[in-house]
Symmetry: C2
DNA sequence: CCTATATATTTTGATTATCAAAATATTTGT
DNA sequence: ACAAATATTTTGATAATCAAAATATATAGG
């Protein structure tokens, strides 16, 4: 029994590392080699449609706004993002993707989908279905664990 | 059909992010809060048994030896690692875990297994088996993709 | 047995990602 | 109108990383 857990853990760790490294390599080739993984993720967080505020993006990425400010500065310099002060509330900054940013978003998305397709290639429809179900469960469990950890981290000492 | 790929991709991305964050929180609590995730991974790479050379560890972690040198310096200062020059070849440095390092290793390992156990708790034996199979497949596919990317990255321009 | 070359590691100098806390600008509640 | 709250940026610091130069040691060929 423990054997199985050990192997599942091993698999998860390796999958994790591989995904990370594959993503890294895939960016360094390709048309957007001037973006780091972190930067791609910021582009992803801004999203294709409309704009988001600095607070929204920072919350989604779980980084401080200070960190985000410098990240956005650089992505604007590189031509992927746009910054616009809100007219209704001048404190708020609305960040959106430029056309170049949208292109980067779509290409990165395609890379992800291609990877999934390659993986699912020799899965039967039934296996696919079961995997999806298992992943949903796995994901929801992780979210629970994560929320609990987050909670205990933020209330410690209070 | 594409729908399913999109969801599987989404699940994988979220699992990835959650695992990362859970690990981070779990370290920041616990007895070894003076270690970062990167440092825990270095401890893991050194391993419980015997010693490894700088080159071996750097290769395993896919970082340069320069990076590793400073990482090892700090982990020695913190009492997790030991450095010893080989007697048979004075160029070689053998790195091993101290008792404190071994304890950190075991506790981190336990954290991983507990997480897997918590996740698998309400999986049926059959689901467990299928997830494991899927993970094996996923992992082997990722390794293939990874090797190909690595190859094309290292031969580009030659 | 020397010397050139190869190997293992460390040092140096730089960059990127990150944070917490202070500063700035703007809005809102009383 | 002004104090408190909110949104963001700036500042000053640290960690992780790399490539290239420097150092130390080993090995192979004459």
């Amino acid at each position: 029994m423990k054997e199985k857990f050990v192997e599942i853990n091993q698999m998860l760790v390796e999958v994790y590392d591989d995904v990370n490294r594959i993503e890294e390599y895939s960016i360094k080739q390709g048309a957007f080699s001037d973006l780091s993984i972190t930067e791609i993720h910021t582009v992803e967080a801004v999203g294709l449609y409309g704009s988001k505020t600095m607070s929204e993006i920072a919350a989604q990425l779980e980084i401080t706004m200070g960190t985000l400010t410098t990240a956005v500065d650089k992505l604007i310099r590189k031509g992927y993002l746009e910054r616009k002060r809100s007219n209704t509330d001048r404190r708020i900054v609305n960040v959106s993707l430029t056309n170049r940013g949208k292109l980067a978003y779509r290409i990165h998305e395609k890379f992800h989908l291609d990877m999934v397709k390659a993986i699912m290639n020799d899965f039967t429809a039934q296996e696919e279905e079961i995997l999806l179900k298992a992943l949903r469960k796995l994901n929801s469990h992780l979210k629970d664990i994560y929320m609990a950890a987050r909670q205990s981290a933020s209330t410690r000492g209070s």
